[in-house]
Subunit: 365 residues, 2 copies
């Protein structure tokens, strides 16, 4: 293999592929990126066997071929190269020589044959979403996933397609987020769980204003296709909990409040609450919410103006869960709907029917 | 005590004073900031008993008095306050109520009497330096101090005044930095060691374009006076090593090289060298330096164009020490002077006689 490419393209390709490399890989070859030169382009592939990223950059291929180079060193080196044409040439052993100007770096790698073959992308159902919008949906949903690998379904995001719409749902059993998205794509009804880790990586890669992501769903895998990048991931097996029965249909108390006002007040209360259990109390009155916390550090009393519909109420939440939900909302004003001190609070954007998040209250004496 | 002040002033005062609070203070009261309201201003003081910071902010004093409040909570809270007038009022116990708008936070503190009295600033010798310049001198010197508290003199910076000039010197025995500064101040000859930690904090606080720092030296302490801030520190006792005998007077080999070119080459070499001992080799030839490193990860061969005076030479350095010295230099071109493979290399800015740094070579086979 012998190629010449620009520093900028190489940085972009290596940085993207590197995201699929796990620090705790049991196979040494998986700490590397597979470089394949053919058809005047360079393919970069990396995988941790659960998720794989393939990225293509333009280059001048002088000799086709492939090699695996250690992702960490390759990444650090390309970022420090001068802004000159970069040549990468493999030697007879498993080395590659990276040349630039009068200088060169020889880096030890692995044979391409040692690299596991990339799962063959075969999606039966396929639909496209604008990158910018999908990135925002993911931001609104991913905070509610669980980091606990012992219960895999809660680490993922449910993606349902039914009645011509897509629904994303995540829950860690303490809070839940749900986002509906209209689609005109003709796809059959679907119900899959996509790993949160995959979607977090997707959210980092996408975001361009005028581009679309193609989502292709197979039986056991999902493929996200961007302009020069493919992200392939296994699906999570198992049954997602019946989220519908958790979401109360009505409310006894509804407050309308400025998101920024209540968020800042809860953040301040959280500073004092954190030495304890992060419990803050909301006393919902006619024209205001009084937010309070009381710990050995001190106590706080915050008043936030609201519009109340329904009954006054007292309820307690974990401040951190409320902060996550308020930040994810993204709307200037929200409704906070409650049905009682032991029923979940529901946050909805004012003027938006397609999104909600839910936070379980904390039982206090 | 009862005061009203702006959020911005309070943030600035607390952030500055907080820098003197050590995380590992044995006395609980030292985790706090002493607030003293008098003469229509608020004094904020903090100390770890080695270094103290006093900061003054304007405020409306409605009732004079003082209290100690925990620095960490106070800092986090004031940064999150709304941009409204802030009132701080002490209660009969050791609490303070911070009020803003309709909300308030009560924070538990300590009695002002528990706080150690601040060392009385009494400097015999006093001189002033422009903030911007002193900040740059410190940047050029501080990298050469040692973090090893077992040998206190090496953790400090020698400040000498003789023949109408100031000299700053630091060394950790592997490298050394020396900066001469002209002064017109009439001060007697002086030889003190100022803690590197103090000077690091000073460097963070200063930097304004048209302001001066006053340096006052007592027998056991130094006081840096800025516009609204005083930084007081003990001096380090002990004998600074005789640095003069370490600095070679002539050279056998002098290369003139672009700082950026050699720095980037050494940084790349360091990426490959670091799994080993960070040893890189410099092969100084007629028109270039060849920089090389060879480890199990791979090998690097960098060529940097230079102007050579004197003999070609081979020498090896610790890449990290060379990087620190090159970054500190701050000049577009440097001279690297050497007297042999086992003698220190000296870096001097081209066109500057007032600064040098020195790096010991590494003995290789």
């Amino acid at each position: 293999m012998k190629i010449i490419c620009t520093r900028q393209n190489l940085i972009q390709g290596v940085s993207t592929a590197q995201r699929a490399v796990s620090a705790k890989n049991p196979l040494p070859v998986l700490s590397g990126i597979l470089l394949t030169a053919r058809d005047n382009r360079l393919e970069l592939q990396a995988t941790d066997l659960e998720m794989g990223i393939q990225c293509i950059i333009p280059c001048n291929v002088q000799e086709e071929g492939s090699i695996v180079l250690p992702a960490k060193y390759l990444g650090e080196i390309v970022r420090r190269l001068p802004d000159a044409p970069i040549q990468i040439e493999t030697t007879q052993s498993t080395n590659a020589v990276i040349s630039y100007g009068q200088s060169e770096i020889t880096i030890n790698g692995f044979q391409a044959e040692e690299f596991p073959s990339f799962p063959n992308p075969q999606g039966k159902n396929s639909l496209a979403l604008p990158e910018e919008e999908l990135k925002e949906y993911l931001r609104q949903i991913l905070f509610a996933t669980s980091p606990d690998e012992n219960r895999p379904v809660f680490t993922g995001v449910l993606m349902e397609i039914f009645d011509g719409q897509i629904r994303f749902v995540a829950t860690d059993t303490h809070r839940l987020a749900l986002r509906d998205v209209k689609t005109t794509a003709e796809v059959s009804d679907i119900n899959v769980i996509i790993p949160g880790k995959t979607l977090n990586e997707l959210a980092r890669v996408i975001g361009a204003a005028d581009k679309e992501v193609t989502i292709s769903l197979g039986d056991k895998q999902v493929i996200f296709g961007m302009e020069d990048t493919l992200l392939i991931s296994r699906l999570i097996e198992g049954q997602f909990p019946n989220y519908r029965q958790v979401i109360p249909q009505g409310y006894k108390t509804r407050v309308r409040v400025k998101t920024k006002d209540i968020l800042e007040a809860v953040e301040r209360a959280s500073l004092l609450a954190r030495v304890g259990t992060q419990i803050i109390r909301l006393n919902i009155e006619e024209e205001k919410i009084v937010i309070s916390a009381n710990t050995e550090v001190g106590k706080i009393h915050e008043e936030v103006p609201v519009y109340l519909q329904g009954e006054p109420m007292q309820i307690a939440f974990n401040a951190l869960y409320l902060i996550d939900a308020l930040r994810a909302n993204g709307s200037e004003n929200i409704y906070l709907d409650m049905s009682g001190p032991l029923s979940p609070g529901i946050l909805r954007p004012v003027g938006g029917e397609d999104y909600l998040s839910l936070v379980l209250p904390v039982r206090t004496i």
